[in-house]
Amino acid sequence: MYRIAQKTGVSNKRAALYRLIGIIGALVVSSIFILIAKKNPLQVYTSMINGAFGSYHRIRSIIIKAIPLAITSFGISVAFKLRFWNIGGEGQIMMGAFGAAWVALSFPDLSKPLLLLIMALTGFVFGGLYALIPAFFKGKFNTNETLFTLMMNYIAIKWVTYLQYNAWKDPSGMGFPKIADFSQNAWLPQVFGIHIGWIVTLVLAVVMHIFIKHSKKGYEISVVGESVNTARYAGMNYKKIMLQALFLSGGLCGLAGMIQASGVGRTLSVTTSAGAGFTAIIIAWLSRLSMPVMVVVAFLFGAMVQGGVYIETAYQIPQAVTSIIQGMILFFVLGTEFFIRYKIVPIKKEQEQGGKE
């Protein structure tokens, strides 16, 4: 017989090691699914890595995939810091992209810097406002924000579907349901062959890190997240802080949407968000809300998706396997938390016998 006891004093290094072991465990167990597909897991994983990192071109597309993941993670983690479970990244990305598209399609002839700036601002504001709605109700009635933000995702996607298939449908698309491409002025410029979203990501990582750790507002967000009562006690207006933080959270997601629409899709479509809002939750959580770590994790997740695309064509293994691996990694890393906080102690022999008498 065993019993469970709490333990203390696990160093950060050791905890990181546990998590790494967890990730490896996840990959091992996920290989069951590769075996189901009658493929050799080792071979598949190796070619996944090759498919992700094998050439400059591939690394470039990892970075392109990682950009929205990282920026959305920054946004999501501002809300998480506040213990506000913003599962609505997907919808906020869509609304940000919608705002940006609206500007891009309305003023196609504005000069490039000005147009991009207005698009970015509009995207930020639209995403922010979209996140403010659940935040308002949370503050006013303590309405469950997890489900609220989730439902807002579906509504945003239906809204963009409506635009794509109906209101904004490109008449020159020969019946194909798509929104017209943006004018060239609304395309993000490229540096080293990648749209400048990567520079934005790196700058935001530093800025947001400093914001959370060293600004007055960041301190307030941390306190409110820890205990609303303490915040009230310290004279903070926690409802106002929540609204501000959620505007920032949604705004960053909206900015990610603008970058996707402008830098990758060249227009708005129902696939603009491509699940980034959900993946970002996993990334934010795995990174323990640290922005610099998020950049790395987002890159690795980008690599995983990229590798998934590659093995789909190379081995006819459904791309959904990457979702399985993501879920599995979460399961395992969650599980390792147990071993960081608890230990299993055997119950001594003599005590054991005592009970049987």
């Binding site: 469970i4 109700f137 809204w159 791309q319 599995m328 969650l334 599980g335």
Partner: protein, 313 residues
């Protein structure tokens, strides 16, 4: 809308509401055990895909349902192991389960996209009119001339109702959700209760998913669940953890789900896409209503979402 039309509409609402009903009942007993499982969407998908594949390959409806039941239970077993044995955060575990379930369904289902449920299985899930009850004017047709799964859902409601409100075991279960430390001190085996109820809860979600892929659609498509799992989580709040009220809540949302489709006949000037938003918008509205009129009687189980460890004081 004349009377026949209304009857047809309500009849369809019951069918559209049945998968929600299964999932809602599953989440009710899970939450009564003090566990918030946000993995319903994932478990429904797992049940839907496994049920469909079994039906397609084996052509046996009973086997398909059993498979879906087990698939849902398997999903919740992962969740239960994480939250009960390893005492991990409930929310993240549930989200992980949904991610996993989505991948699971996409992976296993890819070869079956667009395939249709075999005829004999569809036949087995055909409508059976219940003698006497089925002859009640108006209502009989809506409630008692349905497929066997609908009847199964009625039975599950009654069993869960009796379990929660009439048995000692139900009392123990509620005690765990309210105050696990008190239940523990009273000598209740908390882990066992949690495991059993979470597993049954997951299995019911699996059945709900199978209803979608086997009876409601009945074909395989990846987006078969389409957020219904999340709506079920909200429904649990709306029906204040009461299995009897869950019937009304599920059918109401079933009605909203098909409203868009039905209204098209009336040549309304509303684009389909806005009507498609209805169930989601309505979910938001019920969430707000539930939060505004919170009272002592309809609060969630007090310790829901908090992992229990005896030595924590």
């Amino acid at each position: 809308m004349n009377l026949t039309n209304l009857q047809l509409f309500l009849s369809a609402a019951v069918i559209a509401g049945t998968p929600l009903l299964f999932a809602t009942l599953g989440e009710i007993i899970t939450e009564k055990a003090g566990n918030l499982n946000l993995g319903i969407e994932g478990m429904m998908l797992m049940g839907a895909v496994v049920g469909f594949i079994t039906a397609y390959n084996q052509g046996n409806p009973i086997l398909a349902l059993i498979a879906a039941f087990l698939a849902g239970a398997f999903g919740s077993l992962i969740y239960a192991f994480l939250t009960v044995s390893l005492r991990v955060n409930h929310e993240v575990s549930g989200l992980a389960l949904t991610t996993f379930g989505t991948g699971f369904a996409g992976f296993l289902g890819q070869a079956y996209v667009g395939k249709v449920v075999p005829g004999n299985v569809r036949q087995a899930f055909g409508n059976i009119k219940i003698p006497l009850l089925g002859d009640i004017p108006f209502i009989g047709e809506i409630l008692f001339n349905k497929d066997p799964m609908v009847y199964l859902s009625y039975i599950v409601v009654i069993i869960i109702g009796i379990y929660l409100y009439r048995t000692r075991k139900g009392l123990n279960l509620k005690a765990i959700g309210e105050n696990p430390a008190a239940a523990d001190a009273a000598g209740i085996n908390i882990s066992l209760y949690k495991y059993v109820n979470i597993l049954i809860g997951g299995a019911l979600c699996g059945l709900g998913g199978a209803y979608l892929s086997l009876i409601y659609v009945p074909a395989w498509q990846e987006s078969v669940v389409a957020g219904r799992g999340w709506i079920a989580v909200a429904l649990v709040i709306f029906v204040t953890w009461n299995p009897y009220k869950a019937i009304a809540g599920a059918y109401l949302f079933g009605g909203l789900d098909i409203l868009g489709f039905r209204l098209q006949k009336f040549q309304l000037n509303i684009p389909q896409y806005f009507l498609d938003m209805l169930p989601y918008a309505a979910t938001i509205i019920i969430l707000v209503i539930a939060s505004v009129k919170r009272s002592k009687k309809n609060l969630p189980p007090q310790s829901m979402g908090i992992p229990y460890f005896r030595e924590n004081r």
